[in-house]
């Protein structure tokens, strides 16, 4: 069933990206005009605003414990705990035109991942390096979890100030402390449900 849903969903996603940018407004925070800053080493002592700090919240869902649910519109990622609760993390999400929704699974996990910006990203941002070794100045941060066979990941960041904003190319970014926390809680194969505001 899951396989089938992915099969039908992926071409739709691909088509959407090829033909027209998906446009959606934001309620929370306006788009932050900030590019990737490879090489910048983040100040990890800076605390997130309270609402984006990791916390246990009430969350009712039919998805089983261990499932990740991302509410793009809210800039929150929920890790379902069962018994009506979830751990909530603040995330940064894709900027307008780079948001998406669907069901994927984590296919790979990596610590201090290397960064090879995909060709479509290089095309848009030619100034980006073609390759960057993993480390504190790497835009993927301390950990990365790869989603299906897409170019999307849940990863750390070297720009903690972007949490809560729509700035990425469709990836979900978290501060390094949070991505390390999440990384240790979820195995390869974890179901990731991404939701966005419905289009009118």
């Amino acid at each position: 069933m899951i396989k089938f849903r992915r099969l039908i969903w992926m071409p739709i996603l691909a088509a959407a990206f090829a033909v027209l940018p998906i446009s959606h407004g934001f309620t929370q925070s306006e788009d932050m005009n900030i590019g990737d800053e490879p090489g910048l080493v983040p100040d990890e002592s800076v605390q997130l605003p309270p609402q984006f700090q990791r916390q246990m919240v009430l969350y009712r869902t039919t998805e089983p414990p261990g499932t990740i649910i991302v509410h793009t519109n809210e800039r929150f990622l929920y890790l379902v705990q069962g018994n009506g609760r979830a751990i909530r993390y603040g995330v940064r999400v894709g900027r307008e035109g780079f948001q998406w929704q669907g069901l994927l699974k984590i296919t790979r996990k990596a610590e201090w991942p290397d960064w090879t910006p995909p060709p479509e990203m290089i095309k848009r941002q030619p100034y980006l390096p073609r390759f960057m070794a993993g480390g504190p100045g790497n835009p993927l941060g301390a950990r990365a979890m790869y989603l299906g066979t897409t170019v999307y990941r849940i990863h750390g960041t070297n720009q903690p100030q972007t949490i809560g904003h729509a700035v990425s190319s469709g990836c979900f970014g978290m501060v390094n402390a949070d991505i390390m926390d999440l990384y240790d809680r979820v195995p390869v194969g974890t179901k990731v449900v991404v939701k966005q505001r419905p289009s009118v």
């Binding site: 309620t27 605390q47 609402q51 919240v57 009430l58 009712r60 509410h71 505001r197």
Partner: protein, 342 residues
Amino acid sequence: MRNAALSFARTALACVAALGVTGAASAQTLKAVKDRGVLNCGVSTGLPGFSNPDDKGVWSGIDVDLCRAVAAAVFNDAGKVKYVPLNAEDRFKALQSGTIDVLSRNSTWTMSRESEFNVAFTGVNYYDGQGFMVRKALKKDSALDLDNSKVCVQSGTTTQLNLGDYFRTNNMKYQEMAFPDAAATLKAYDSGQCDVFTSDVSQLYAERLGLSAPNDHVILPDVISKEPLGPAVKQGDSQWLEIVKWAHFAMLNAEELGVTSKNVDEALKSTKPDVKRLVGTEGAYGEQIGLTKDWAARIIRLVGNYGESYERNVGTGSKLGIPRGLNHLWSEGGIQYAPPIR
């Protein structure tokens, strides 16, 4: 038998007709509000996030937004509201006497309030309930983890009774530290006399701001009692009840359908049937309750959808920063649910 059924049907019809006349005769509130040119809205004397005046006397809050929504639907102007601050004792009397048209004052919907005060609650715009605050350093993330703690609670309240029930039911021991007023209870907790502080969740978030180190405390996700807060109207004017009720439902449906104050004009061009019914480009749902076709579009444009109102007043856009929790839409992790517009 057939004749009997027929005559019963005739009687029933006559009754319906009579009711119809009565209904029309009592449908006075909308007319009175329109003639007056302003909606009289009963609010609190000042509760941040719910109904609170700023230093210029401008009211804001999730309860204030409900009144703004009704004014938007009726006048196409969310500012045509006169706020009447009321204490807890006077609030329902003000509805009965007609001093206010709607009460939107963080009031819990209970059976006896409807029957004794002759009022009708129109919905639940904030699901509150009792919760717990603890020090972060204790590393607790569940109320079931609070065995053998010292709990600060205000005495003589339902909160105190719920606390006892909850611990007893879950076979947990606790030591109660009860204080006569809210301020003393909080102070005792802040000074370290207790491990746990209990009150309604919305209160916990507000009270945490007053602690000496707010960031050192967490509010547990558990909600152990039902405190459904909502607006109320006087019984007897079913049209007015519908208007206030559907103003709230319109905001919820708007969030569910992705219609916001920013994209409402785009929504007016939508081809989706449920969006069209909401914004009034299909059907005449507003007209059936004495409003215009675009009643909900007015609300969404001038006030926003429920999520926008929540985040602005009590959520991520406010000092309180209360997670949506129970007040998420039913499809997003909570229990906020509006019947469809069709």
